[in-house]
């Protein structure tokens, strides 16, 4: 039996290769994800071990209660006198006060825009404390004057900076953001010949300048770096220093710091992992359809052979085992190839992010996951066809004709029930009734719905493709292609369903995003009564801000009626992170946002006072006069009195405090200003004037309403672009499925093709016939996908109506594009099968038994 399996595999190399490709791709992404995680993890470990190699122990201020995650910590500076305290601890060789803050953004000499090593990469500013094992000057000298700096080689490369040249910096200081020009006197690199550690930019000043710029006064440091005396254990030293400095300061060994930092960075890049696993999931899900189809066709083709084996005495289980053994071998081979490709992909991505310094490794879990996924998916997909094979009666060997089409009643009924089940799960997930399992309920619901629709597909396949094919039926070859498509509705349906999955996912996401865009746009139209908006797009931990002076100047401009500025912070409210807005003119903010008072007064705010929206008040059972405890990024929790409650609008929600509190915010400068003009105001003219006020600030732009809407929705475009990549992948796999189906059909219809060629069907006509079949299948799949996706998207938007989705909009142009793309995909998929069909030897085909 095993020999029969191997032989049968070898005789079907091509079609099995095609169906295995889908598994290969899926396994590739799984393996890639694991390899990447491993490589990045080890790279970060080594990087941060290097970065902290010169530090035995570090002292910083203890974060405030509740500020536990890396992102929310805003540590207070350490006073200079503490350096002496630490220096005096037994076993300390040197204690150095270091200023190191993410807050010195370099500007490009060419464009004036901020130079960044990449999205979210920090721009450090600090004090130059001399070279050590980690940091070495590559050229130039240490800064000695107030206007001198040294920069890391990474930054020098980014902006093509040279020694003695000028550099403009945008420094975030407690007094606001200021732009200043410095002279570069040195360029430094890191040990191991690295230009930067992770792609960050770093600018080092003299200690006094660094303190003045970044802390607003001298005598303050970010941290104290300690080198232990020879023979001192860092852990013991840490404990002694801890004792000396008391509980207001946090003391950690270099090793502990490296670990914390590395973990944080790993977490930050884990999204790549999720993307790869998402790709893997889609590839494998689509792959199941293709494998199922291939095995179904193979079993159908071998009907008589299998029946003969049964007649000769093989048991049902032996047949089942034989077919599953084939699947197992394919799964195994696909896993090996996929693993190899995954290692390559993982390494490529790591290299792309410059994170392959630790070298490529293949962790055991990558191997285990690859084989588990590859084999299980293949065998599960082959199970149904195998079961059908085992049920072939021995009599089939003696019967002449192929078995008639099985009725579609059962499959349709099953499909209906499964679709309903999937949709129900989806609904439960979307309406938030699944609690912690929401995400999985939604994903599961979507997948089950897809399976249900796939099962329903055969019923609609025949009429649908027949109708679709009419477009191409103006010539005989087209008509033949159209009829061929309708010949085996199950096969056409599964092939099309594979394509449906990708298109449906992308259509659904596009529908959700276009609805979100439209909703935002509608909301802004309705609830934003401002002519100009001053804001910036956040690209790193530090939000773009502008000087409060701009507000004063803007208010003084002619034609400006009202200006409301906003500061934002994530505060701790009962230990929970809560978004808080501060404003310098609450009355203006409320009126521009279309909000009105529900209780108390919302037109003035003093220190220690807060207004909040009616929903929050209801949820937390608060009324005017209640007290809430709020701790900002730079303050401990303190009581605030509720002085007013307003009706929530899409623009105004949450807690609002007065601008005085913003000194305790992470960003002490305003991030948003809403400007309303008086009746005579010319938007363009005032916009130019405000832009002049902000000339020094490349991060902030002034938008009119439509620009602002575009800005707010631009994020969706980025995500959509990314989603298209997902579609491309799903389509690629689906193309394999279409090719597979066509090749198998051509093999089945060899004699027919021979006859057609004999009676005068030309090569071009043969190609046209196969292309029509391919295009019709593809278009059918895309139509299903667009339909299912639009439905899925609409359901999601409906379910999220309360979350701000006010408008349902379909991305019509994208949907049309998907259909066109599917047509092109159909044409491409037909190329190889058509070549095969055209090269057919007519005589052999006619003689074919």
């Amino acid at each position: 039996m095993l020999r029969a399996t191997v032989k049968s595999l070898l005789s079907r190399k091509l079609r099995l290769t095609l169906s295995a490709m889908a598994v290969v791709l899926g396994v590739m992404f799984v393996a890639g994800a694991f390899v990447l995680t491993d490589t990045i993890g080890r790279s970060f470990d080594s990087m941060f071990t290097t970065a902290f190699s010169t530090i035995d122990v570090q002292v910083v201020s203890t974060p405030r209660a509740g500020q536990d995650s890396q992102d929310t910590v805003v540590a207070d500076p350490v006073p200079e006198r503490l350096v002496d305290t630490v220096q005096d601890v037994d076993g300390v060789a040197t204690a150095t006060g270091v200023v190191f803050v993410d807050g010195a953004k370099p500007l490009s000499p060419k464009t004036g825009k901020i130079l960044s090593g990449g999205y979210g990469m920090p721009s450090f500013g600090g004090n130059w404390v001399g070279e050590d094992d980690l940091i070495q000057l590559r050229s130039g000298r240490s800064p000695t004057a107030d206007d001198e700096v040294v920069i890391n080689a990474g930054l020098a490369g980014l902006g093509k900076f040279a020694i003695d040249g000028p550099i403009d910096l945008l420094v975030t200081s407690p007094d606001g953001q200021l732009k200043q020009t410095f002279t570069i006197v040195g360029i430094f690199g890191y040990s191991g010949d690295r230009d930067s550690l992770i792609g960050e930019t770093t600018t080092m000043f003299t200690t006094a300048t660094a303190q003045r710029l970044l802390y607003g006064q001298e005598g303050l440091f970010s941290e104290i770096d300690v080198v232990a005396a020879d023979g001192q254990s860092p852990t013991a030293l840490r404990d002694r220093i801890r004792q000396a400095v008391g509980p207001s300061y946090q003391v950690k060994t270099g090793e502990e710091l490296a670990e914390t930092q590395s973990d944080a960075m790993r977490e930050g890049l884990s999204f790549i992992n999720y993307i790869l696993l998402g790709f893997a999931g889609i590839a494998l899900f689509v792959g199941v359809f293709i494998i199922l189809n291939t095995f179904s066709i193979i079993v159908a083709q071998r009907m008589r052979e299998l029946a003969l084996i049964r007649a000769l005495g093989a048991s049902r289980n032996q047949i089942l085992a034989a077919v599953l053994a084939e699947a197992l071998v394919i799964g195994l081979i696909a896993s090996v190839v996929g693993l190899g490709a995954g290692v390559g992909i993982g390494w490529l991505i790591a290299a792309f992010f410059d994170l392959s310094i630790a070298g490529i490794g293949v962790p055991a879990n990558a191997i285990i996951a690859s084989f588990a996924v590859g084999i299980i998916v293949t065998v599960v997909a082959a199970f149904l066809p195998a079961l059908r094979a085992s049920r072939i009666p021995p009599m089939a060997a003696l019967q002449e004709a192929a078995t008639p089409d099985r009725p579609l009643t059962r499959i349709t009924l099953g499909g209906g029930i499964i679709t309903l089940g999937g949709a129900t799960a989806l609904l439960i997930g979307l309406t938030g009734r699944a609690g912690d399992q929401t995400l999985w309920t939604i994903i599961g619901g979507v997948l089950v719905t897809f399976i249900g629709i796939a099962l329903l597909t055969p019923v609609i396949a025949r009429p649908a493709v027949s109708l679709l094919g009419r477009v191409f039926a103006w010539s005989m070859p087209g008509e033949l292609g159209r009829r061929n498509t309708a010949r085996n509705p199950r096969r056409t349906a599964i092939t099309a369903a594979a394509l449906m999955v990708g298109v449906a996912l992308v259509t659904a996401i596009s529908t959700i995003f276009s609805s979100a865009s439209a909703s935002i746009s509608d909301t802004l139209d309705k609830d934003l009564d401002a002519h100009l908006i001053v804001s910036g797009l956040q690209a790193s931990q530090n939000a773009p801000t502008f000087s409060p002076d701009v507000l004063t100047d803007a208010r003084a401009l002619a034609d400006v009626d009202t200006v409301a500025a906003c500061w934002y912070d994530v505060a701790r409210w009962n230990s929970k992170p809560t978004f808080v807005t501060a404003t310098d003119d609450v009355a203006a903010l409320m009126s521009i946002s279309g909000a009105s008072a529900a209780e108390g007064a919302v037109d003035r705010l003093g220190p220690g006072q807060v207004v909040l929206d009616d929903d929050t008040a209801k949820d937390r059972d608060l009324a005017v006069g209640s007290t809430v405890e709020l701790g900002f990024s730079r303050s401990d929790p303190r009581p605030f009195t509720v002085v007013g409650i307003y009706h929530e609008t899409e623009m105004a929600s949450g807690l609002v405090v007065s601008a005085e509190e913003a000194t305790d915010f992470r960003a002490r400068d305003p991030q948003l200003a809403l400007i309303r003009l008086d009746d005579e105001g010319n938007t363009e003219a005032v916009r130019d004037q405000v832009e002049t006020l902000l000339a020094d600030n490349p991060e902030i732009s002034v938008s009119d309403r439509s620009d602002y809407v575009d800005q707010q929705t631009s994020m969706f475009d980025t995500i959509l672009t990314f989603i298209q990549v997902l579609l491309a992948l799903a389509m690629l796999i689906a193309v394999l499925g279409v090719i597979n189906t066509l090749v198998l059909s051509i093999i089945e219809r060899t004699r027919e093709l021979g006859m057609l060629r004999a009676i005068g069907l030309s090569r071009a006509q043969t190609t046209r016939m196969i292309t029509v079949e391919s295009v019709v299948i593809s278009l059918f799949g895309a139509l299903l996908g667009v339909g299912a996706g639009a439905g899925l998207g609409a359901a999601t938007v409906e379910a999220l109506r309360d979350e701000g989705f006010t408008t349902l909009t379909f991305p019509v142009s994208l949907m049309v594009a998907y259909l066109v793309l599917a047509g092109i995909v159909g044409i491409i998929a037909a190329v190889f099968p058509a070549i095969r069909a055209v090269r057919l030897n007519i005589l052999n085909a006619i003689a074919y038994e």
Partner: protein, 259 residues
């Protein structure tokens, strides 16, 4: 063979045709210097044991296979050296085929199958001719049926009608009765015979069956790649006798075996 044949009388002709498959050790000579002229309006049967080259001769004459040496022609068109495109057009317009396995398209109705060569060529059928043909094959009431709804004999009659639909120069029939019971076989042969008589259609038929060959005006016998004999207006027993004498003369192990 009659001595004088004018060009207009020629439906198909082979002159000094050699067909060699493979080379060296594996060389198989299927046709050795075969010359034959098929006259317009004649029903010719080609007979011979398996491997005698009768199918090869037909394929070469029909433009399905190329000759190694010599020339083949249909009407006045020489096939040698024609491109695939030209050969395809030639087959479409000047040749009709009837296969042992019927070879109808299951997706098309009987009528659509019959008109398939015309549809492929993109020409309109001659309605009068079409009616004449379907009446002759007796399928008027089965036109909308699919092949799967027709009996073997009916399917082969559809195939016959398809071969005749485009009024080809020659119809080549490869064992047309091989898959039919004797009654259906007789019907099909009768139809072929009538179409020669009534429509002046030229038909070339390869067959094993002496009874089938007896319907032909002329029977050509092949053995070992050569034309060894021929009969005119034979009866089935004439054919059987001739076959027996050939059998005794040369080695032919399975005269009535499969193709």
């Amino acid at each position: 063979m009659s001595a004088t044949v004018t060009d207009e009388d020629i439906a198909a002709r082979a002159v000094d045709v050699w067909k060699v498959y493979g080379s060296g050790e594996a060389e198989v000579i299927a046709l050795r210097n075969v010359s034959v002229t098929l006259k317009r309006g004649q029903f010719t049967a080609i007979m011979g044991p398996s491997g005698s080259g009768k199918s090869t001769l037909m394929h070469c004459l029909a433009g399905l296979d190329t000759v190694t040496r010599g020339t083949a022609q249909i009407g006045t068109t020489a096939l040698t050296g024609l491109s695939d495109r030209a050969l395809t057009t030639l087959r479409r317009d000047k040749v009709g085929f009837i296969f042992q396995q019927f070879n109808l398209l299951p997706t098309l109705s009987a009528k659509e199958n019959i008109l398939l060569p015309l549809s492929i060529a993109g020409t309109k059928p001659d309605q009068a001719w079409f009616r004449q043909v379907i009446e002759a094959v007796g399928l008027s009431d089965r036109l909308e049926h699919r092949p799967s709804q027709l009996s073997g004999g009916q399917q082969q009659r559809v195939a016959c009608a398809r071969a005749l639909a485009s009024r080809p120069e020659v119809v080549f029939a490869d064992e047309p009765t091989g898959n039919l019971d004797s009654r259906s076989g007789t019907e099909v042969l009768g139809f072929l015979r009538n179409s020669v008589r009534d429509f002046g259609q030229t038909i070339v038929m390869v067959t094993h069956d002496p009874n089938a060959a007896a319907y032909a005006d002329r029977v050509i016998f092949l053995a070992d790649g050569r034309i060894v004999d021929e009969l005119h207006d034979p009866t089935s027993s004439d054919v059987l006798d001739k076959l027996k004498s050939l059998d005794a003369a040369g080695p032919a192990d399975e005269p009535f075996g499969a193709v």
